[in-house]
Subunit: 202 residues, 2 copies
């Protein structure tokens, strides 16, 4: 069955198996091992389904949010996972991810390349309410994992409360009620010694 | 912030982290380790987005298909993964999965419990076009993995071509063109020695 279109779709489906090998800094909740991008993306998609009511907008296109979180980290197959607190490396990250998007989404038939690229670009730009909600989930999930693993990744990298607040504040843009909840977790993490208060009193 | 509803949603989100620990029989494509349920579910959701055009129906509710595949294996957190060729254990499987659905979806607020349960029951019943398409993907993905790992799981369990054809025939109900493609893979797997021809000439 020589079907060029289907062959391209299957080639992409096989290629993205590699997302299961891209390791993140956060641990599974039982602390047995780091989480990978495929698991993380699945978890975000589930969170989108379960927490949609907290989105900052009433006209949320939830299916599009789910699509965005499912594909948002595929570029890391080539570009790798960059620790979000590592500001220096975040600069080169953009260029590497752009090249990765080119190659990976380019495996698909043209219409699907366009669809995947537009989802990824919308997610990255964080300009639409859906992308802001997706970005909020992408911050909340590691925060939940850090809190429930006694601050594993924070302590390992000497991250302070100021940094956590600064980096996660974008949750408020996409889902104000979840930001309120997240702030409660962050305060409690400091109280419990999972997270250093840091120098400033921001 | 004492918000009972949100606390229940978060409790469920934390609970389903365990799906990342439920191991399946299929290997990752690089054969480094078995795949887990969270990764598998993410992969199916991606396949749904990419292969929707092959669904047997023209009125596919694709978002519902994506939701079904995202949640379809959550019951295995309690019930475990049962090898699909193990007919004896498939009998007790149903009862264990029903209890698992009760407990796991029951962690959520009532409206979400209902929604998750109804998605899972629709997937299990395979009576709607969407559920049939979801089921087709749930068979095609391990078949792709088996083929591209030189029949690892087939050879490990002495599975024959007849069994593979019988078990995967349901792909034809949900996505005829994908069944045609799958049959090509199965024939090629026999030719390449990844899969035994078996006794009958079915």
């Amino acid at each position: 069955m020589p079907n060029e279109r289907l062959e391209k779709q299957i080639a992409f489906i096989l290629e993205i198996d590699k997302a299961k090998q891209v390791l993140r800094r956060t641990l599974l909740l039982d602390r047995s091992r780091p989480e990978n991008d495929a698991e993380h993306s699945w978890h975000l998609a589930m969170m989108a389904l379960l927490l949609a009511e907290y989105a900052a907008t009433e006209s949320l296109d939830l299916f599009r949010v789910v699509k965005m979180v499912l594909i948002h980290d595929l570029v890391e197959i080539d570009a790798g996972d960059i620790f979000i607190y590592d500001a220096a490396r975040r600069v080169e990250k953009e260029e590497r991810e752009r090249r990765a998007a080119e190659r990976i989404f380019g495996l698909l038939p043209e219409d699907l390349t366009e669809e995947m690229r537009s989802l990824w670009e919308e997610f990255e730009a964080r300009e639409t309410p859906g992308a802001r909600f997706a970005a909020a989930l992408d911050r909340l999930q590691p925060l939940l994992h850090n809190y429930h693993t006694q601050g594993h990744s924070w302590r390992q990298h000497g991250i302070t409360q100021d940094q956590v607040l600064a980096l996660n504040r974008r949750i408020s843009e996409g889902a104000p009620a979840l930001w309120e909840y997240a702030q409660g977790l962050i305060e409690d993490a400091v109280r419990k010694g999972y997270l250093d208060k840091g120098s400033a009193a921001s």
